[in-house]
Symmetry: C2
Subunit: 307 residues, 2 copies
């Protein structure tokens, strides 16, 4: 077991990271760093430098802070010789993540830019099935209620908070993992609430006949679905990649196969592998498509939004 510290004890840490670490055979959570959040039974720091100085033997840190403040922590951790795991998106800018990757590389440390949705159980089988199909059309439908999933998190609508691309990038992380060809944004419409900086809705057309609709104002059934029409039928990934059907037939886990871990347990298992192998894993493709949509998108003003 390796020691790890968790930085940024907010909703995602409490909901996902803490239980995944508690169940992990690879990791032992020995410290947290957070202004206010703590984990019972684990030493709590409020200052990151104090942690780095006080616990030099903790070789790995996992950063669950929002993207804008995250870079400074990642840089300090790498400069202090720690391996670093980054929540998605891996940063507020592409260039800062490239800089971190270079730092990690020069220091011989692991940097892992995680994409939790890629670990959903339908994703790898979908990629394998699509590998030899002719893909005719892809439709992404990603609609959820921001009030339910990000209650009161004002930062998502501040510059760098990404708005509806915060969930949308999960769809793009799956898409770029399952398609057997490169894609690029061709056109985008961004709906930005009059009183906010980031989009609450987006429609994107990508090459390869890919269309995506992201909506953060959806109060009914929460929808995270990717449909792929091929010469061999329709593949549907729904529930954010947790359910896979081909022409309507459920594709369950293979009989006799190993049980499939949850997304976050799988991320931490992968991080243990990377640290063991002295490797990094930094794939910027999902973030590049968001930056391209933000650069190329036509902005339309939407109704003001309040939580």
């Amino acid at each position: 077991m390796r020691d790890i510290a968790l930085v940024g004890i907010g909703k995602i840490a409490t909901d996902q990271h803490v239980p995944a670490l508690a169940a992990s055979e690879d990791w032992r959570l020995v410290a947290t760093v957070s202004r206010s959040g703590t984990v019972e039974g684990v030493e709590a720091f409020t200052d990151f430098d104090a942690f780095l100085e006080g616990r030099p033997e903790v070789g790995t840190v996992s950063l669950c802070l929002p993207p804008v403040p995250r870079y400074a922590y990642a840089e300090a951790a790498l400069r202090a010789g720690r391996h670093v795991m980054l929540e998605k998106p891996p940063g507020a800018t592409l260039a800062e993540v490239q800089a971190l990757a270079r730092l990690a590389d020069e220091a011989g440390l692991t940097l892992y830019a995680t994409w939790h949705s890629r670990m959903a159980p339908g994703v790898a089988p979908a990629r394998d099935w699509l590998a030899d199909k002719r893909i005719e059309r892809v439709a992404i439908d990603w609609r959820e209620d921001v009030r339910r999933w990000h209650p009161g998190q004002e930062w998502v609508f501040e510059p760098g908070g990404m708005g509806v691309f915060d969930p949308g990038i999960n769809a793009l992380s799956i898409l770029t993992a399952i398609l057997p060809f490169d894609i690029h944004v061709q056109q985008a419409t961004l709906e930005v609430p009059e009183n906010r900086q980031t989009p609450i809705g987006a429609e994107i057309a990508l090459s390869g006949n890919v269309r995506a609709v992201f909506d953060w104002r959806h109060e009914g059934e929460q929808t995270w679905r990717i449909e792929v029409d091929t010469d061999a039928g329709r593949l549907t990934l729904s529930e954010g990649g947790h359910r896979l059907t081909i022409d309507g037939a459920e594709q369950g886990p293979a009989a006799g196969g190993a049980p499939i871990p949850g997304e976050y347990p799988a991320l931490y298992a992968r991080m243990a592998e990377l640290v063991g192998a002295g490797a990094s894993d930094v794939d910027l493709a999902p973030m590049i498509h968001v930056a391209d949509a933000m650069t190329l998108g036509r902005r339309e003003t939407a109704r003001p939004f309040e939580f």
Copy 2:
């Protein structure tokens, strides 16, 4: 001499590409493709496919179209086995340029994403002088009159047209060529005219104590200046990289040195080198900083703009 075709005969082609090719010892301009523009004495096509079919022996095409339509031409040219040279910025999205680079690589063709300002005569000496200095502060001041340099070019204010980043990316192309360390955008303010989609002004703070001001509403003396304060004095690149001073002292070309070519003659000489060597040159750094500023920037509404 190699044959080359010029695609998109607008202002930049007429002002820069045509004279550079006329004076080149490497290239012979044998065809143009443009809806309306032509070059006297050169076969003119209006349709790109007709050119590709009609002139299979022309091994290289140089694309001077605006960034949004450019990708389709570049892809078609590479698929038809032609080397491709791209005006700046090399595309409307990062992902499309990465896709072109992969296509060129797989086909053994040259792709050259040009940055003409990097060829200004002060740039290489500035890079060499800065290589061993401690850099304390960088100030970029890039102010010009869009009506003078892009008269009536409505596309610059359409999505993908980049707005003031169209000139600003020239500054970023120089900056990323002369600084001996990585930088990333930390904060940006984008002034977008009420009736337009892209910024007419921008202020950007980057790591390394770099500040940039881009303004497209500047009617007085046109200013394209980068000031770098170091432990060994102040380096100033002005006139878009054409004039270099160190602590106020002019740095001329070395006595007895070879004459320095203009920016576009230097680009075409470099393209000839790349084709000869079977190599590509695709540096996305300037474009990544623009995408980062567009993603992270706070938008403010500016007065409506008409040409």
